[in-house]
């Protein structure tokens, strides 16, 4: 491997600092023993203790986790189905449909949030937990579809045909052949959807209702009244959860990639 020059190292350090210094400060201050956010009072787990006695915060965390679980599950099922249709079926308007599935990826969240709010109002759908669940499913299923479709593109179509040729009906073919081959992509799609739902503030703010205060909404509203050290602690936990999800997702993708490369190598031998 090539050695990095001084300039490279400086650029890398600067870039990483730009990205992670704010987060590092937040994480460090979450272990601050002082009552004042800006004053260092030695290491302590005091605010984590406070956090676990804060019923409202805990309730919001529970809501957010439940929301992430439900919307990520729904998005994984729907996104995988969309990916299957786009990658495997020949139908009229496939390109248009593909474009429409990917559009929410680049759509500003504020527009998604506003349009969903208008939709829920128009249909008289009660704003609250289920509205957010639907909104998050809408937001995240595109991500799942993109990830699963790119994986499906690398799975030889004739594998599914071979299964059917050997007497396996389509649904069982999907479960016994296709799914085992694409599950790393499905799992990383789920984890990404989970993380996206967990940290969404904008869309949730539009469609939320009484009794459905998610963790980001709770944090945001408390911060407006002044940053409590407790907020640092809850943010640190959220960072840990999201980061773990993303690391697992990328490991899954990498592992399946490696296995596939090995398979391709074997085919050439």
């Amino acid at each position: 491997m090539r050695r990095l020059s001084t300039i490279n190292i400086a650029a890398l350090a600067l870039g990483l600092a730009f990205l992670y210094l704010p987060i590092a400060v937040l994480v460090i201050y979450s272990f601050n023993g002082s009552r004042l956010v800006t004053l260092w009072g030695g290491w302590s787990l005091r605010w984590y203790g406070e956090l676990f006695r804060d019923a409202a915060m805990l309730e919001s965390a529970a809501i957010s986790l439940r929301l992430a679980l439900i919307s990520a599950s729904a998005a994984t099922v729907l996104g995988t189905l969309a990916a299957l249709a786009l990658a495997r079926e020949r139908f009229h308007g496939r390109l248009l449909f593909a474009g429409m599935v990917y559009a929410p990826l680049v759509m500003p969240e504020i527009i998604t949030g506003l349009s969903l709010l208008l939709l829920f109002v128009a249909f008289n759908f009660e704003r609250g937990f289920w509205a957010i669940a639907v909104a998050h499913t809408t937001l995240t299923l595109s991500f799942v579809a993109v990830i699963v479709q790119s994986r499906l593109a690398t799975v030889d179509r004739s594998l599914e045909e071979a299964a059917m040729d050997l007497g396996c009906p389509p649904l069982r073919t999907f479960l016994t052949v296709t799914l085992p081959l694409i599950w790393p992509a499905v799992a990383s799609g789920f984890l990404l959807a989970f993380a996206l739902s967990l940290d969404d503030l904008v869309i949730a703010n539009f469609v939320t209702g009484p009794g459905a205060t998610t963790l980001p909404i709770r944090i945001y509203s408390e911060v407006r009244l002044g940053v409590k050290p407790e907020i640092n602690a809850v943010c640190t936990i959220m960072i840990a959860v999201v980061a773990t999800g993303l690391v697992i997702a990328s490991l899954l993708t990498k592992r399946s990639q490696a296995r596939q490369d090995r398979g391709a190598l074997g085919a050439r031998l």
Binding site: D156, M164, D165, G167, C168, R259, G263
Partner: protein
Amino acid sequence: MAAQPLVTFDRVTKRFGDFTAIDDLTLDIFEREFFALLGPSGCGKTTLLRLLAGFEAPDEGRVLLGGEDLAGVPPYRRPVNMMFQSYALFPHLTVAGNIAFGLKQDRLPKAEIAERVDEMLALVQLGALAQRKPDQLSGGQRQRVALARSLAKRPKVLLLDEPLAALDRKLREETRFELKELQARLATTFVIVTHDQDEAMTVADRIAVMDHGRIAQVGVPAEIYEQPNSRWVAEFVGDVNLIEGRVTTVYPSFVLLERDGLRLRVAATAVVSPGTTAWAALRPEKISIAHEASDSAENGAAGIVTDIGYLGTVSRYKVRLDCGLVVEAAMMNASRRASQTIGVNDRVWLSWTPEAGVLLTR
């Protein structure tokens, strides 16, 4: 073969958009036949196989198996199995798991599945590798697993899509004979798709030569080679000299063909009338090449050797005849020094019998 055909394509047409892959094709395949679909890429041979497997549905016409129309029968309910060109082995299953896959779909008892898998592994001599994954196998071993998997359900018809294309030459030639032997032993109907005429000639009982979605000719290998029915078939199967000429006289047993002062006697294998254009198809190995003119031969012409290709078993000579026509002749190198007796720029005499050539009208 007066028996009822096992597989019938009855006026089948298949289109993909504007492209007609199969064009009003009718074909019978009989039980226990080793049948080859031979043609260049894009001729529709794989589409024909996929129509039989059920992955494509005909736009017109019927596909019959054992007299029953297969329309609407999905691939997973057809008693035919296919060996894919890419082998399509399930990467997440072991060799034994791959072979057992089809049997499990039939919900056979476990003991019977195990027994059948062992039988198949023995058939393709892979017993020692039963627990390997496909990515731990060589190309030849994968090919055998794919074959065993497609045979495990004892299909009425085994479809083979370019089964040997991915193997290297030596292994491919050995495997041809193994396939043929296997087919004879199992007494199953095999339908093979290939673009390799040697492969089709070696393994098949009958060959259908395909071109642009139609069947150009069906016959046993020798028939296809010795009595092609068109210039296209003659050129696609083996090497051939096609000499165009005008029919001058028609005798009961042979036809006189004339071209630039060259007169050819060709056995009357087709009906022609004087004044029309026809072709004589002459295989290089049926032309004798010598330094001296021989009086006995009924066809003969003198020329200059312009090129010699030494291929080991035979040598091929390109000869420019005095009338300007370039003809290729082949001679077995029966003795070790045979190839040295005729050299480039030698003046030689080519001769052949009327029966050596085939008269073609299209």
